[in-house]
Subunit: 314 residues, 2 copies
Amino acid sequence: MKILVTGGAGFIGSHLCDELLNKANSVVVVDNLSLGKIDNIKHLTGEVSFKFYREDLLNYKKIVKIFRNEQPDIVFHMAANSDIASSIKNPEIDLNNTYLSTFNVLNVMRELGISKLFFASSSAIYGDTFSNLTENFGPLLPISHYGAGKLASEAFISSFSACYDIQSWIVRFPNVVGERATHGVIYDFINKLKSNPGKLEVLGDGEQYKPYLYVKDLVDAMLFIWNKSSDRFNVFNIGVESRTKVRTIALMVVEEMGLNTEIKYSGGSRGWVGDVPVFNYNLSKLHNLGWKAKITSDEAVKKSIRYILGKTDE
Amino acid sequence: MKILVTGGAGFIGSHLCDELLNKANSVVVVDNLSLGKIDNIKHLTGEVSFKFYREDLLNYKKIVKIFRNEQPDIVFHMAANSDIASSIKNPEIDLNNTYLSTFNVLNVMRELGISKLFFASSSAIYGDTFSNLTENFGPLLPISHYGAGKLASEAFISSFSACYDIQSWIVRFPNVVGERATHGVIYDFINKLKSNPGKLEVLGDGEQYKPYLYVKDLVDAMLFIWNKSSDRFNVFNIGVESRTKVRTIALMVVEEMGLNTEIKYSGGSRGWVGDVPVFNYNLSKLHNLGWKAKITSDEAVKKSIRYILGKTDE
């Protein structure tokens, strides 16, 4: 099967490409390399069943051309802004890279009659709530532009799916960690400690408590869902049942770096405006389909720390 | 109070302006007149507390200038594509006029520190479902790009409200009818009968069953909600408890026109792709706040027919 992956040079996208190629598919990546890296896919560039286009999804005419040339059987749309905190100063980052990129993908698919879409959505669409977050939860009140851009994307996927009979899979990710991650709390701590090993300032009170899913588990879940669910419109939360506190992450980083650091908390429940401090969503739908994460949140965090520090386990 | 109304020359927007001026506010209208009409506001143009700008919300630089000059206390954002069926052939109509117009309004408000927004959303965000549609209903799966554009707008209103402390009121409208309406099923039937009085072809089976709210009731509800609810983020369905079948509308139009017409149904449950055939949402929240529609759905339809035919009751 020929699969086009947008954002395929990114952290998650590149792991997805690895696995799709492992399963004997042909893979076409479109990535503008604004956040993605050639390094993430350089091991694939020799393969005959792999092709890479450096292009921005906002460049509609170029995108139509690529999609028309390639005629993929399905599009995995992974491209998005992934630096949630950045867009508070400039909401157009998520307007363009999280939402309009999706609209363009949908519009190209409509124009060319490509009829299958797999979309990487996010737990950020749920906003700041302690409720039981099933896939049917409402109201959806995102508190970051990233979450808003993902929800806006889901909205148009729904209307395109209904109007042009596009079969769609929407999967909502929690925090994802592991090899090739380029930012997020683990990265921040390590960078801070590299410049000042004696003291680590943690934003918030350290009590932020969230599930961190290992990237290879995530990709496994995506392909499982794609394989096992075949409604016209399929929506799944993907996650891991366990969670990790920011306080614990700080301690793990300090330990893995072999430091003796004073950890200071700036206070307040949120790490930054738009941060959702406590989060855990309902995974029954995915569990009932037959999938559970193999690696706990703590283990995933540890793997990610060790990878960033160059202590690869594999 | 100074109130800026986008889409203020439109069907609903112009009624809103009438009522805001009645209540001694100062009103500034921004409308590109793509769907709005000067005719709808020409009776206001003499008033000192009324001002009109012909401008497109997509023209960001011009909009910033107008908002900066006017410094409104609150923005009533009513502008949108209102011709739902049209965008199936060109989804960019709703991308631009329903969604991006909202993003620009939000971004200008952020830039200038305008801190109150009242937004005209729609029952179309709920999609095609028989469920009990409270304001907290999920999942939201719109089947038209108009519904998707409204949901995408709500998503970003949520994130802007959270990030920049913008107090927001979101009200979701059903079908609205009455004086100055320019399209919709009533209009279509009258136009068809004017060109062929002997035969009326009705799209679908005539069993589409929806609430039609009288425009003056709608505006009354909007101002009631604005007056009585003061959370940072307020969401209300606005509607009327009664409903009217398309079949009944056809008969009422034929009767009011004094014709003896053969009515033919094209069949199928939907009038057009993206149409939601049976719809009725939960109004408990608004009823509990203390508001109910004064005019039934049938009466509202009749008023609208008589207005279009020039038989004004007032």
